[in-house]
């Protein structure tokens, strides 16, 4: 598959938080790209830095956090050097985000229809009635039944799944180039979650928006994403197309992760990932998985491995994989 042009490129981004005990290195040299029209899954446990990365893309890192270094290029524009005013014009318009608690993201005092319509009046400069018409169109697009009636209701009258659909409607209202979905299905029931993911896939294809799907659930990744970036302790350890990632996981962490997850369609032996996530405080240089990795050497603890292409469009940051000591499965 030829690589399509990237909508957004994150290069060597590092985010640090200052605390009384020293710096917490939340993200360390993360690099990945989201291509035109694809769904990229950003997978990792809590503390892996995936949400912080999304916050960095939106330019919302605040004290005591800071973007230590790196570049984020959105459609040719460097975001890290922009001031808050310019970022405001990009947030919600070119880059939109939905979060894992849709109900709390909606204003409880304003009708849902008005909230969506506002986006059109503010960003597209439409008049009130035209904005309202478009709002109802968006609600229908995300699969809300009886959109005219529902538009007059308030957030508390919507179920969790419906709220998430409204969030998606609001995010897509401005036809953004990139939609960041931060754990969009975590708070939802299994069947509702399945439908939301279907919706995201469908809308991504229809509107041409690229999606950065942040999740800790490999099942979601397997069923929804085209490519996957795996993060561990703030570092991106592997980037690959989804089939390749599951069939031939390269990085030791990815392998361990894939083997630690139970399934419903067959009984498997679960093997938990050995060791523990290292502390992100005043970290040592080198690969952060070294403390838990069966193939770790001294070099791994001193030097941070770079991303190498071990198969077409399949990248991993691991010396053992590079050297062939841990041959891809």
């Amino acid at each position: 598959m030829t690589a399509a042009a990237p909508v957004i490129e994150v290069r060597d981004v590092s985010v640090r938080f200052a605390t009384d005990y020293g710096d917490v290195h939340a993200v360390d040299g993360a690099s990945f790209a989201v291509r035109q029209g694809e769904i990229l899954g950003l997978v990792g446990e809590s503390g892996s830095g995936k949400s912080v990365t999304a916050t960095a893309i939106l330019g919302l890192i605040r004290r005591p956090g800071r973007l230590a270094h790196g570049s984020i290029v959105l459609g040719g524009r460097e975001l890290t050097t922009l001031g808050q005013e310019e970022l405001q014009k990009i947030r919600g318009v070119e880059v939109a985000m939905i979060s894992q608690t849709p109900r709390t993201a909606l204003n409880p005092l304003i009708t849902v229809g008005r909230q969506v319509a506002r986006l059109f009046t503010i960003h597209a400069g439409l008049g009130k009635s035209e904005a309202r018409r478009r709002a109802i169109e968006m609600l229908a697009l995300v699969g809300i039944p009886e959109p005219e009636r529902r538009a007059r209701q308030y957030a508390h009258q919507f179920s969790g799944g419906m709220c998430q659909r409204v969030m998606i409607a609001m995010a897509l209202a401005t036809s953004p180039r990139l939609l960041i979905a931060d754990e969009p299905t975590t708070g939802l029931d299994v069947s509702t979650a399945a439908r939301i993911l279907d919706l995201l896939r469908e809308l991504g294809a229809r509107t041409g928006a690229s999606i950065l799907l942040i999740t800790h659930d490999l099942g979601v990744v397997a069923q929804t994403c085209h490519r996957v970036a795996v993060m561990h302790a703030g570092q991106v350890v592997e980037v690959a197309p989804v089939r390749a990632l599951f069939a031939h996981p390269a990085h030791p962490y990815t392998r361990a992760l894939v083997h630690s997850i139970p399934r419903t369609d067959r009984a498997i032996a679960m093997e938990p990932i050995p060791g523990a996530v290292p502390s992100l405080l005043n970290v040592a240089p080198g690969c952060r998985y070294a403390g838990r990795c069966p193939w770790a050497e001294d070099r791994c603890r001193r030097e941070k491995p770079g991303m190498t292409e071990i198969a077409p469009d399949h990248f991993a940051a691991c010396f053992a994989v590079e050297d062939g000591r841990a041959a891809p499965v």
Partner: protein, 325 residues
């Protein structure tokens, strides 16, 4: 196999209060009641794990809460270790508590933020055993070691621990008095995927070592498949299917179970997805459709589904409540 715990037609109904409820009652002609649990019967044998699955609002958490008396049953019976729990006085029930403990869903929220780990694990020992301070301390430390927490964490506070560690503290606390049955209400839902495996394996190890029984409540079907020997599926307050774990997952009989399994995303891009889905949304537990509760959403619904549903054995040890089987 001796039955450790048995629920017989358990009902937990919550009457609605307030003016809106009163007006609604006038309109409907009968009092408005949330029928959270509406006639649930199952049993847990000694030494086994019964999985109770369903989506939010199905009543599984309420069943758990009724079992540990956080909520009073409105009808039905609960039998534990030969004795009937439902009619017991509070003091008498308190004597049962050392044998029947619970682990809650949110690991951090289940721990008092102002108490160190040690005190929380020692608390059940303080309340139910006659051990002196030194003995309690020793036992608490032993239990903490058993769940994989170093003794050096015993003086920490909950906010200094990770989610996985907090959950281990909860498990240690439940284990302290050597219970016979532990009710686990979504114990891994708030944990990371990679931590789940650890906690699940720990639970299994503890069960085998101490001969415990678990009532494992979860909406995470994959975890249930791993841990449970038998599984019961709940929908809108009743059990719609019950079978041995492998049998239920491989050959689901009830349409709801089928739809639920079809919706779970497998961590395998090559896995075939069953396109079986339910339409619409879960009805409110105040307005439950008569006959089969799924009929407003089931793609296979027939006119007969409006009749009261029989709960019958569709295969050896495999029960389902559906007209069409």
């Amino acid at each position: 196999m001796p039955r450790l715990c048995e629920l017989d037609d358990l009902k937990v109904h919550f009457p609605l209060r307030g003016t809106a409820a009163w007006l609604r009652a006038l309109k409907d002609g009968h009092p408005s009641v949330v029928r959270a649990v509406d006639g649930v019967s199952f049993h847990v044998d000694a030494g086994e794990t019964l999985g109770l699955v369903g989506e939010s609002g199905c009543g599984k958490s309420t069943v758990a809460r009724a079992l540990v008396r956080l909520v009073q049953p409105t009808g039905g019976r609960i039998t534990f270790d030969g004795a009937e729990l439902t009619g017991l006085s509070d003091e008498a029930y308190n004597k049962v508590r050392p044998n029947l403990q619970m682990v809650f869903q949110d690991p951090a929220a289940s721990l008092n933020p102002r108490l160190p780990v040690r005190r929380m694990v020692e608390e059940p020992l303080l309340l139910h055993t006659g051990l002196d301070a030194a003995a309690r301390r020793a036992r608490a430390e032993a239990v903490l070691e058993e769940v994989g927490l170093g003794v050096e964490l015993a003086d920490r506070y909950p906010h200094e621990l990770s989610g996985g560690q907090c959950q281990r503290v909860n498990i240690a606390r439940a284990l302290a008095t050597n219970p016979r049955l532990i009710v686990l209400d979504e114990p891994t839902s708030a944990l990371d995927v990679s931590l789940r495996a650890r906690v699940i394996l720990l639970l299994e190890e503890l069960r085998q070592r101490h001969g415990l029984s678990y009532l494992f409540i979860s909406h995470d079907l994959a975890t249930v498949r791993y841990l449970a020997s038998r599984v019961a599926v709940m929908y809108l307050g009743v059990i719609v299917e019950e079978a041995e774990a492998a049998e239920l997952f491989d050959r689901p009989a009830h349409p709801y179970t089928r739809a639920l399994l079809a919706a779970v995303p497998e961590p395998d891009p090559e896995a075939k997805r069953d396109p079986f889905t339910l339409s619409g949304e879960i009805p409110s537990p105040i307005d439950i459709p008569g006959g089969c509760r799924l009929r407003t959403r089931c793609p296979l619904a027939q006119p007969i589904c409006a009749e009261p549903v029989p709960y019958r054995e569709v295969a050896p040890g495999h029960f389902a409540a559906c007209h069409l089987l």
